[in-house]
């Protein structure tokens, strides 16, 4: 396992994993480790939020435990669940066993004494099915916990997330409080479809991942799709940048840029012509209306390409 002491070291480690980490992102991740705080990452879809957590786990050499949030996600799916079936079997075994144990006792009080002498395992960790949150906390090896798209969850879910995030403990009514054996690194991602509560935000460091500027995106392409020619790459980032400045229903994300770059490589494009642009634009834009708008304003895109 690495020990990453400086934001710059983190940047390098991420670069080795082909993730271009911005200065402020490196700083926030570094601080999160230093002062043991979860990181709440917000930003447009496809800006690399989930990947950030994934790569963080890899660079730290930790296991990634992922909790995908959705509407209706409850404790049973996120924290823990009792295994009723096993508990039931156990109580049946217990019945037989008790009969055998107290068969030679004549007195009720003594029989009770003997039963109580046995360990009570009915509500014990043995019958507990840990779900991601509990798993991250009880893991003997430190892990990275990714709570993905936390804005999709219900407000109630936030409430028990709070306990995990601030104290790294989970309260189980039957058992008491389970506290973390090892400190997990926690990353929460959100598309801001719902504003998270202040209580949750207060407990996190905040990181806003926006779309990168053109130079950065060039570097990302160089890193991820090294086969793409330099000229085409310049033109491509110019087009993407121009598209992001239009008022589209969904702006092209980094992952779509990369898909497009890969498509251009497999089409052996040396120079981005109007024709190629027209035919491959659907890789970038996913709505018919956006496509129509982009075609309408093709002169703008061509101009942007010309400048590149």
């Amino acid at each position: 396992m690495f020990h990453l002491n400086k934001p710059d070291d983190l940047k390098k480690a991420f670069y080795a994993e082909k993730y271009l980490l911005a200065d402020n992102a490196a700083l926030v991740l570094f601080l999160a480790g230093e002062i043991n705080k979860p990181v709440l990452v917000e930003g447009p879809a496809g800006a690399g939020k989930t990947d950030l957590a994934r790569v963080l786990a890899r660079t730290l050499g930790r296991r990634l435990i992922r909790l995908q949030c959705y509407e209706g996600l409850d404790e049973g799916k996120a924290l823990y669940e009792w295994q009723y079936g096993k508990q039931l079997l156990y109580s049946q075994i217990l019945k037989d066993k008790i009969a055998a144990t107290i068969s030679d006792e004549s007195d009720l009080a003594e029989a009770m004494e003997r039963v109580f002498a046995f360990e009570d395992v009915f509500f014990s960790e043995r019958f507990l099915q840990p779900r991601p949150l509990l798993e991250a906390i009880t893991s003997t090896e430190p892990a990275v916990l990714l709570v993905d798209e936390v804005d999709k969850s219900d407000p109630e879910f936030e409430a028990f997330l709070l306990e995990v995030l601030s104290d790294f403990t989970v309260s189980i009514p039957e058992l008491g409080t389970v506290s973390a054996k090892t400190m997990p690194r926690v990353v929460l991602t959100s598309n801001s479809s719902r504003e998270m509560s202040d209580a949750l935000k207060r407990r996190c460091l905040h990181l806003y991942l926006d779309f990168p500027d053109r130079e950065t995106e060039m570097e990302i392409i160089r890193l991820k799709v090294p086969d793409l020619g330099e000229t085409v790459a310049h033109q491509a980032t110019a087009v993407v940048d121009a598209l992001r400045h239009m008022s589209l229903k969904k702006s092209p994300s980094i992952s779509e840029t990369l898909d497009w770059a890969a498509a251009l490589v497999s089409l052996c494009v040396e120079h981005l012509s109007d024709d190629v642009l027209d035919r491959t634009l659907s890789v970038l834009l996913k709505y018919e209306r956006d496509l129509a708008q982009a075609r309408e304003k093709r002169s703008e895109l061509t101009r942007a390409m010309g400048k590149a």
Binding site: V28, L31, I35, K37, Y84, E195, D198
Partner: protein, 467 residues
């Protein structure tokens, strides 16, 4: 470090950004773990620990620049001394001053011998006592404050004292160390820098107070404001607050829906779920009750007199998507037009603006309630059924045109509820050309709502759960 951090947090709070004590502690803990060789590290750290909402980031950037601007007093240390060696000059001047008979103000001594820390304290204390930082907006008073600061510090007097001390040293010639020219050059530059710093400090305090004044306008409780008087820019400024209000309303309504969630015991799924336990039924299953989410048809008058009001009504209706199953919206002035599709195409705020501007109307002047209602009854009556709540927004001022009561009757007959919201106060309802008294008996409820508080109350009363 700590004092300035707390000061900055106060500044953020003044401008409506919530900063808790815990976050402040985080910030200071974080800063203690870093080597702050770069300004950007300092800034990013504060941002990550103190700012938790994306929309606060631009404001944070501005305030950060204001608060930690390089024109601050500590900028004194950055005086450009050209080719000179400030260290040597400082000790030279120190010697001259200690030997001189002229008494020099301690402030000047601090400035020239490089004791900037002490100087900073003097100047900030002065700002405190003068109360610039508590000053209301008064851009023209900047000069006044600057002059007063210069006078209080006795800048001109200090300059003369130093001049005298230097002349004396030169006159005595008693081994005046260093080059006289360099020394006086150094003195000149230091004083010039001091003047710069003072004026930029005053400017900064003025900028800060201007921020506070801006904030004060927003702060006035928006829910109680009369919607008639709002300008476009004010409406834009109100957006975040309105969004917040709408979200609160939605949360309240959806909690009500959820509590009404549990339906009857479901024997079939309970058996299926518990097959594995061979007999006992530890896990009970209940049928989910489908909440009766109301469908809404909104008819909004967008003539000049009630336009703002319609705006907010539409805004609220579309923010409540989770609670309301279906909204169809129509706007009218002289005739009626459906604008539901606008809301599918554009962002809510944009769609509301388009709708309020009367997009799609043939006769956008002179409200004709009768004709608009009749047109609705004729063309869109199937949109109304027993699950529909019809909300009409308008002042019911018909410009003396026929009110067409029968159209309203036809609508009321089909709808579950008809609610008429009138932005005018109840007292004026029967006055002039208002026909509110004619429509009133046909409505399930009529309500006055001229501000957002009244509006939210009506929505909550009529659209919450199975109310």
């Amino acid at each position: 470090m700590h004092a300035s951090l707390i000061g900055f947090a106060g500044h953020l709070r003044d401008n409506g950004i919530k900063v808790s004590q815990a976050e402040l502690t985080d910030a200071s803990r974080a800063l203690s773990r870093l080597s702050l060789e770069k300004r950007s590290i300092f800034k990013d750290t504060l941002r990550a620990t103190l700012i938790k909402r994306v929309r606060d980031i631009p404001l944070f950037d501005d305030l950060f620049a204001l608060h930690f601007s390089s024109g601050s007093v500590s900028g004194l240390a950055e005086t450009d001394h050209g080719q000179m060696n400030p260290e040597a000059l400082r000790s030279t001047i120190g010697e001259i001053l200690s030997r001189s008979d002229v008494t020099v103000s301690p402030v000047a001594e601090m400035l020239l011998t490089g004791r900037y820390g002490a100087l900073v304290r003097v100047v900030t204390d002065l700002i405190q006592t003068m109360g610039i930082d508590r000053m209301e907006t008064a851009p023209l008073r900047g000069r006044f404050f600057l002059n007063r600061m210069r006078r209080d510090l006795n800048m001109d007097g200090m300059r003369q004292e130093i001049g005298a001390a230097l002349a004396e040293a030169r006159g005595s010639g008693a081994g005046a160390p260093g080059e006289p020219a360099a020394v006086s050059e150094y003195v000149d530059r230091s004083f010039a820098r001091m003047e710069d710093v003072l004026s930029s400090l005053v400017q900064r305090e003025i900028d800060k107070s201007r921020y506070r004044a801006l904030r004060r306008i927003d702060d006035r409780d928006i829910t109680e404001r009369d919607l008639f008087q709002l300008t476009d820019s004010e409406i834009r400024a109100m957006r975040p607050a309105v969004d917040r209000l709408a979200r609160k309303l939605k949360d309240r309504l959806s909690v009500r829906l959820r509590h009404a969630d549990l339906g009857r015991f479901d024997l079939k799924t309970t058996f299926r779920k518990n097959i594995g336990y061979g007999g006992p039924l530890p896990e009970l299953r209940f049928r989910k009750k489908k909440p009766a989410r109301p469908q809404v048809v909104a008819l909004c008058d967008v003539s000049r007199s009630v336009r703002n009001f319609s705006r907010f009504m539409l805004l609220f209706l579309y923010t409540l998507k989770e609670v309301i199953s279906k909204v169809r919206s129509f706007i009218f002035v002289g005739d009626l037009s459906e604008v539901t599709s606008l809301f599918q195409q554009y962002d809510v705020h944009e769609a509301v603006s388009l709708a309020a501007a009367g997009c799609g109307l043939r006769y956008p002047v002179g409200t004709d309630y009768g004709a608009s209602l009749a047109q609705f009854a004729e063309e869109h009556l199937p949109a109304v059924n027993s699950k529909t709540t019809v909300i009409v927004l308008g002042d019911a001022r018909t410009n003396r045109l026929p009110p067409r009561i029968e159209a309203m009757e036809a609508i009321a007959e089909r709808a579950r509820k008809v609610i008429w919201l009138n932005p005018e106060s109840t007292a004026t309802w029967a006055l002039g050309d208002s026909v509110m008294h004619l429509y009133r008996p046909l409505c399930t409820d009529v309500a006055e709502c001229g501000n957002l508080a009244q509006l939210t109350r009506v929505i909550e009363d009529h659209l919450g759960g199975r109310a």
